[in-house]
Structures are given as structure tokens and as C-alpha cells.
């Protein structure tokens, strides 16, 4: 299949003005040949690919700016600090936070959620207190709460979902009570694609006196995030799912909460004064960034935000919505395809099983045709349990995906169907 052929009429008809081929050209890996076929990368929910703008930023950083940050009076340290702190400003704008100090650089969503669970949880949770966690959460938004609940004697309660993969709002409202301290919910569910009504859920939680922690790992690549509008208390996301390098992500927290929270990790950068008699801690955000940060990848994160802005986050969302509509349209033609996640508001994710072919086998068959999808429990075992399935297959989209790639996926599914006759 030639690259040129990929620009199908659908792309042009769509009314979306993005030039997908031009965008694709910015991702060298999309030209990789996998088992003799051009790669069709539909595993973006797990991790997206990186544009040249991001990898060149890393290269430039190491070639002209690197030193340790915050500690030096020399020029390179100044350049590095400037680059790092301006990435923080970009990140601040990316989630529309009020103050740059509300942005903490972390390894990714998982670390961000652990930081909140440990630091806020240790500070606030009393025995008997309740933490509400939805049934559709990724393990990274379940296990940290179980760990801190165990340590503090508090209780994790599940907010159930319906069979469309939507949080049951009445149940949520009923679960909220004056023992509820924390509500942990995902913005977009990675195993289902459900977009949750965060703003409303935050309002309800606040009415009950609880804070809300939002897992925005799957939202960040597709939705323009506005923490002020959502009024959430904490929000975590991963760079590697939104075109940024691996190893970097951000935690947003409301200033007045972060300022009151005890430190998480201890070490250089996060202190004010250290002595064996006792130490005092720096102001936010530094209090929560112990040790040398991942400077280069933070700078790369800034470049990824810029990459998304240059295309337009709404434009990205529109393109992905088209792909999602198209994939659903195609799937409807087959009776042996079962779809998981039929929420009214859905983004970027198409999860399914094929009767008679185990997801794992399907993944292998697709891979041989160059089509990369994810199969398994997607780190969301409670969702698998809900639907009584051990594993699903999941195609998830990024701005560079095409209708043609979806066609190739269905061709490969056809082949699997035959193979397993």
C-alpha cells in the first residue's frame, strides 16, 4: 500500500482541514515496515508516537542547553532552568491552571496519582473515611487508593457503571456522604472510551465536602483540559500518551491544597534547610520535585503541547471522532464483533471482541499484517470482570491515523475469522 494511496477520499470529504499526510510525515516511525507491511499503529491509548518537533527538542536540549537546574549560576544551568521552567508554564497553559506552581512534573499519571494518594491521603484520611473509585478506573487509579486506605484505615468504595460503560450517577450520588474524603475518577476510560461528566461529578463531590482527583491520562491526547472550568482538585496526565517523550507527565493540584500537603519524596531540590536536627521544605512546586528532575523530557513535554496547539486540539478531536464513527460503522457490518463501551460520550477508543477468536490470537494475526492494536485486560481488570471477559482487543486513535488504517484492520480481522473458521 503506497503512502500516497492512504489519503482516501474519506479524508478529503470529511470537511476536516487537517492534512493528515503532512502530519504523518512528522512521525518517522510511521514508515516502519512490520512483518513486510507498513505499520498501522492503532495502539495510541497505550502510548503515542513522537513527532520530529519533540525529538528534535530533546536533541537541541542536550546539544545546547543541558546542565542541572536551579542550582547553578553558570550559563548552561540558567539555560536548562529557563527551558525547564518555561515547559512548566506551557504545561500550566495546557491544563489552564491559574498558577505555574500548581504544576508538578512527575514520571506520568501513575506517579501523579500516587503522589496525591500518599501526600494528601496521609494528611487527610482518618479511619473509616471513604474514597470513591469508579469501576472503570485503570489500575493506576485503584491500587494507590487501596494502598493508602490500608495504611490509614479508610475504605475504598466502588462507583458502579452500567453496561454501556457509563458511571451510574444515582449510585454515585448515593455513595457520597460526609465520610467521603476523596473521589478518584477517570476523565476518559482507557478500556471503554467513556468520557465522564467530570464537571458535574466534581460539583456533587464538593457539595459532599470531598476532593476530586481526575485521571486525565486518556483525556490529554484528545480533549482540551480546563482545570478551572472542571474545578477538580487534582488532575494527573502522562506525556507519552500525548506525543511527548516517555518518563514525563504532570500533576496539577490546587495551590491551597498543595501548599498544605506534606512532602512526598525527600531529597535535593525539595528542601529549604537540612540539618540532622530536622529539615524544612521548599515551597511548591519544588517541595514535590525531589532530586534532579527529568529536565529534557519536561522540555520535550512542552514541545508536545506546542505540537498539539499547532494542529489544534479541537481539530485533533474532530479527526479522531471521525475515525471512531467510521470504525463503529464498519463494525456494525459484522455480527461476531462485540463492542465494549457504548457510552454517549466516547473518545478515541474502540474496544471489542471477535466471537471464536481470543483477543490475544487476534492481536497476533493483526500484527502479522502490520496492524498494531492492544489486547488484554488494559490494566482495567474490574472492567473485564464487569463484562465477564478475560481480554478485549482495543484500537485507539491519534491524529495521524487514517481511514485506510481502519480498513486494513478490518481486512486483517477478516483473515483471522477465516483462519479460525
Amino acid at each position: 500500500m503506497s503512502e500516497a494511496a492512504l489519503k482516501t477520499p474519506t479524508e478529503i470529504q470529511s470537511g476536516n482541514l487537517l492534512d493528515i499526510q503532512e502530519i504523518r510525515a512528522q512521525f518517522p516511525i510511521l514508515g516502519e515496515i512490520v512483518h513486510g507491511n507498513t505499520l498501522a499503529y492503532l495502539d495510541n491509548g497505550a502510548s503515542s508516537q513522537k513527532p520530529i518537533a519533540v525529538t528534535e527538542t530533546l536533541e537541541r536540549y542536550y546539544a545546547t542547553q543541558h546542565a542541572n537546574v536551579h542550582r547553578g549560576v553558570h550559563e548552561l544551568s540558567d539555560r536548562a532552568t529557563e527551558a525547564y521552567e518555561s515547559a512548566r508554564k506551557t504545561a500550566c497553559k495546557f491544563v489552564n491552571a491559574n498558577r505555574t506552581e500548581e504544576i508538578i512534573f512527575v514520571r506520568g499519571t501513575t506517579e501523579g496519582l500516587n503522589l496525591v494518594a500518599e501526600s494528601y491521603g496521609r494528611w487527610k484520611l482518618q479511619p473509616g473515611d471513604e474514597i470513591l473509585v469508579s469501576e472503570m478506573e485503570h489500575h493506576s487509579n485503584i491500587v494507590p487508593w487501596q494502598l493508602i486506605a490500608e495504611r490509614t484505615g479508610s475504605i475504598v468504595r466502588m462507583i458502579p457503571m452500567n453496561d454501556n460503560g457509563e458511571i451510574i450517577q444515582e449510585d454515585y450520588l448515593n455513595l457520597l456522604n460526609d465520610k467521603t474524603q476523596i473521589v478518584a475518577i477517570t476523565y476518559v476510560a482507557n478500556s471503554l472510551g467513556t468520557v465522564n461528566p467530570i464537571k458535574e461529578m466534581v460539583r456533587m463531590a464538593h457539595d459532599a465536602g470531598a476532593v476530586v482527583v481526575v485521571d486525565a491520562a486518556q483525556a490529554a491526547p484528545h480533549i482540551s483540559i480546563d482545570v478551572i472550568d472542571l474545578d477538580c482538585d487534582f488532575l494527573a496526565l502522562s506525556g507519552h500518551k500525548m506525543y511527548a517523550p516517555t518518563g514525563i507527565g504532570i500533576l496539577y493540584g490546587k495551590g491551597e491544597l498543595l501548599e498544605a500537603m506534606p512532602p512526598y519524596q525527600g531529597g535535593g531540590e525539595m528542601i529549604r534547610r537540612v540539618s540532622f536536627e530536622g529539615s524544612t521544605y521548599a515551597d511548591i512546586p519544588h517541595r514535590f520535585e525531589a532530586g534532579t528532575p527529568n529536565i529534557a523530557d519536561a522540555v520535550g513535554f512542552g514541545a508536545a503541547c506546542q505540537f498539539m496547539w499547532d494542529i489544534g486540539i479541537d481539530e485533533i478531536a474532530t479527526h479522531e471522532k471521525e475515525l471512531l464513527d467510521y470504525v463503529h460503522e464498519c463494525a456494525e457490518r459484522y455480527e461476531d464483533i462485540r463492542i465494549y463501551g457504548n457510552a454517549k460520550h466516547k473518545a478515541g477508543v474502540f474496544a471489542f471482541t471477535l466471537d471464536k477468536v481470543h483477543a490475544h490470537d487476534l492481536g497476533t494475526v493483526l500484527d502479522r499484517q502490520g496492524v498494531a492494536i492492544r489486547v488484554g485486560h488494559h490494566c482495567a481488570m474490574p472492567v473485564m470482570k464487569h463484562f465477564n471477559v478475560a481480554a478485549t482487543a482495543r484500537a485507539s486513535f491519534a491524529v495521524y491515523n487514517t481511514h485506510d488504517e481502519i480498513d486494513r484492520m478490518f481486512e486483517a480481522i477478516n483473515f483471522a475469522r477465516e483462519l479460525f473458521g
Binding site: H35, H360, T364, H377, M381, L419
Partner: protein, 150 residues
């Protein structure tokens, strides 16, 4: 590429995965083990009746997984019956060498297990084929630990 796939998913494999032999609970079992592949969710429980001479008199399994792991478990149970513990272990070694492609200098006869040798072209799937074996070896060694393939 399609040939690789056809070599992997031979009819025998598909058949065993659809109609696994020795599937179910074993009343007379005196040892058992549980195996899980946490990365893909495969899990199986294997029960075994080992007589006083360490001969596997009977073996059954239950569980869920992909075609490879179910077929591998099914064929394995067929082959294990009548083997001593150490024969089972050495058969596993031969099998593992074959599916990982490390058997250049081994040409052991692995019998019916040969149908699974296509797995060697699929490194990410080797664990599917070997999970039942790891579980069986744990069972006959009466190991307490849950087996995982991480």
C-alpha cells in the same frame, strides 16, 4: 507472513483450543497449581494425581486463555499421563528449547508437541505455550507459589 500464521494456528491447535482434552476438575488429585499471565489475563488451574512412584496417573485443567495456551494445556495433559516427574520435567525442557528456538543442538523427539513449534516465530506468544507447563511442573513439585510468566 500468512504462512507463519498458518503454521502457528494449525487445525490441530484450533481443534484443541475449541475442544480441550482433560478439561475439568480431577476428583482424585493430590497436587495442583495455578498459573497466571498477568499481562494478558490468561489463567489456568491444573490438578494432578501423582502415585507413590512419582508417576503422573492423571491430570486435568480448567482455565481461560488464548488458543495457544489452551491448546498447549490440552496437548500437554495428553502427553503427561504415564510419565514420571523427571520425565515430565525433561520433556518440558525439550519443548521449551523447541518453542524458544534454543534447540539447535537438541533434536529430542517431542512427539505431538511438535504442532506448537510454530510459536518460535512469535516471541511474544512463547509464554502462552509454556504457561501450562510451568504450572504443571509447579504442581508435581508441590510448590506453593502461584506461577506467573512475568
Amino acid at each position: 507472513m500468512m504462512d507463519d500464521l498458518k503454521a502457528l494456528y494449525q487445525e490441530v491447535i484450533i481443534d484443541h483450543s475449541r475442544n480441550p482434552r482433560n478439561f475439568g476438575a480431577l476428583e482424585s488429585a493430590n497436587c495442583s497449581a495455578e498459573g497466571v499471565n498477568p499481562l494478558c489475563g490468561d489463567e489456568l488451574t491444573l490438578q494432578c494425581w501423582l502415585d507413590g512412584n512419582d508417576v503422573i496417573q492423571d491430570v486435568k485443567f480448567v482455565g481461560q486463555g488464548c488458543a495457544i495456551s489452551i491448546a498447549s494445556a490440552s496437548i500437554m495433559t495428553e502427553m503427561l499421563k504415564g510419565l514420571t516427574k523427571s520425565e515430565a520435567e525433561s520433556l518440558f525442557e525439550d519443548f521449551r528449547a523447541r518453542v524458544t528456538g534454543l534447540d539447535e543442538f537438541r533434536s529430542a523427539d517431542i512427539g505431538k508437541l511438535e504442532v506448537l513449534s510454530g510459536v518460535r516465530e512469535f516471541p511474544t506468544r512463547v509464554k502462552c505455550a509454556t504457561l501450562p507447563w510451568h504450572t504443571a511442573i509447579a504442581a508435581i513439585n508441590r510448590s506453593e507459589e502461584q506461577v506467573t510468566t512475568e
